[in-house]
Symmetry: C2
């Protein structure tokens, strides 16, 4: 039987640096745990644009559709700010999400005990925090048509379209309810149904899916502005938060920052399961390409490494191996290993990206 395949797309900025450590971890699992992967590497984002004039080559897209899982680093950077919209680095990532049909984006916001002090929030507000944001990822204002900048009278107008069909809402709602059943059985759905008709449909469909198929899960609805407030005020009130593409973008970043652990947070973007029950899947850290620290060996590889742990769990049914990796990370943190993002200016000397990789391999 052939090995499962992994497509690695390091991308831009600190992407290649953090992915370098992930590759070492993948190798370790191959050698020590008999979990061999066939790994292929390719370009995405600005790196792909530099090589091919497009942020995602068709060949790469084809490979991503073939692979059992895709690991992505980060895309974007100031170098590409003035590129035309159609070839911006972000379009590469958005194309992957859309063509792989990765409608369910899981973004944990988890506060690691060893780092609770590092949050800008009071320790008692965030210690032990463990929420999961389920963000719809293939529709909404990110992809709706019409879109563009048009002439109108004697001026221009910028237009985007927020659009959700019942079936798009239905399938992502199911993934949130399924996830809640394996956690604390609570879903809070967020939209602006008081202002947007798309929010009304969202709320209605989520409620219907709940009533018909998940009545055992506790469901509440909240306006997204109140959701942002409640995340800041008392984030532990939540278990799973279900929301659309744009609100999810903002709210998940807000939630991630609450934890003080931004350099620690992985994410999974999942599609529908295939015949073997394996979903199309892309895993990436929540943090971005961090151009300000690129190439300095300062980046924290943990978010990207934990994204591989999510791949082990969600794509390869290796929950125990995922836990093994997560525990190695926790041990390393408990032992005091800190990259620069996890320290205050007076906390001593941080370790480098590769030293963090060394420490995690040692702990494994």
């Amino acid at each position: 039987m052939s090995n499962p395949t992994l497509l690695i797309l390091p991308g831009d900025g600190i992407g290649p640096e953090v992915m370098g450590q992930v590759t070492r971890v993948i190798d370790w699992f191959g050698e020590k745990r008999g979990l061999a992967f066939d790994v292929e590497e390719d370009l995405v984002g600005g790196a792909a644009y530099d090589a091919h004039g497009t942020p995602l080559h068709d060949d790469t897209m084809a490979k991503a559709l073939e692979a059992d899982a895709v690991l992505l680093g980060a895309v974007g950077g100031p170098k590409y700010d003035d590129l035309d919209f159609s070839v911006k680095p972000e379009r590469g990532l958005l194309r992957l999400r859309k063509e792989m049909d990765l409608f369910s984006n899981l973004r944990p916001a988890q506060c690691f005990d060893a780092l609770a002090d590092f949050s800008s929030l009071k320790k008692d507000i965030v210690a032990g925090l463990d929420i999961m944001i389920v963000r719809e990822l293939t529709s909404g204002v990110y992809f709706g048509e019409p879109r563009g900048i048009f002439e109108e009278g004697n001026e221009r107008v910028g237009i985007n379209t927020q659009r959700y069909t019942e079936s798009e809402i239905d399938r992502v709602a199911r993934s949130a309810f399924e996830l809640a059943r394996r956690r604390n059985n609570k879903v809070c759905s967020m939209e602006k149904a008081n202002v947007m008709e798309s929010g009304i449909l969202w709320r209605e469909v989520v409620q219907k899916v709940h009533d018909e198929d998940y009545p055992d899960v506790e469901l509440s609805h909240m306006y997204a502005d109140n959701g942002a407030m409640q995340l800041v005020r008392a984030p532990k009130q939540f278990d799973v938060i279900l929301t659309d593409n744009l609100f999810g973008d903002i709210l998940s970043d807000c939630a991630a920052m609450l934890t003080g652990s931004l350099g620690m947070l992985p994410s999974a973007s999942l599609g529908a399961p295939n015949a073997e029950g394996r979903p199309k899947a892309l895993y990436e850290p929540v943090h971005g390409s961090a151009p300000d620290i690129t190439g300095q060996g300062k980046a924290n590889p943990i978010a990207c490494i934990l994204s591989f742990a999510m791949a082990l769990r969600y794509s390869f049914d290796q929950g125990d191996e995922a836990t093994r990796l997560e525990q190695a990370v926790e041990k390393v943190l408990a032992d005091g290993a800190r990259t620069a993002d996890l320290m205050g200016p007076e906390d001593g000397t941080p370790i480098s990206t590769s030293e963090m990789g060394d420490a995690i391999l040692a702990a494994l």
Copy 2:
């Protein structure tokens, strides 16, 4: 010469309770400072729906267009959750904003010294915080067409349209730059230009207005998701934040909650100045109708009282009188007066809405 006119719209939930205290303050300024207003009161939101079957009667709309300033309490509540979208309480407020053409919504996020401990954020992160969010209020996805829930194939689709013209962006950008000049001369503009064409146009127009007419103001641009992160991480990096209607809704609530002073925060919604230099204007607290505490005398009237202070400053050119009122509020807080929202469960007995009103009148 006739007195300036004020239209008071207490609205729903705690709106009438907090507005009751504002009326006392208005009377005080008439009696003691010779600032007499002709005050008229009317209905908005659910209260208007109950009386007239519409969340804003045409007569009320006409009065609002005539008045020198409008003071609003809050709209909405669970009682109205199942109303048809077209008559929801919120539509009353949105109609006022749109027909009065109140394109510039000023939302201060200010941390009051006496309350810094009450934030969920660490004291050093928020103490002394004083930022101003300028939110575009009459366009974007709140008002764009087409909108609605439509049949498509054999399912329904919910659609809203994000739309900004150059002139809409231009005028709100100017109001942000003007404001920055009277503060710390910094504007950070937030959008998702990496994903939305409307964000590209937004960024371009803001930059152009800056370069042509406000080169002395320091301007930066930030993606709105990063903006949410930065607000949580280090809010004091900002002075004025300029953003669109929907991002402004979420980001201003997030910023307000950071301060721990939600019951304290006023807002002003301003239109273009008329011949006498007086803008069309509506003032309202940032907090909502708070149905959970309605009718219990628990609500904090300060946000609504400070909204009247903003009216004194922005509509009636009475900056000194506004400062007088703001200082009275600060004194009362420094002396330890606390409504329930400003206390932890172990902090003793809170004072009531009207006792807070008493204290402020005494301090005046």
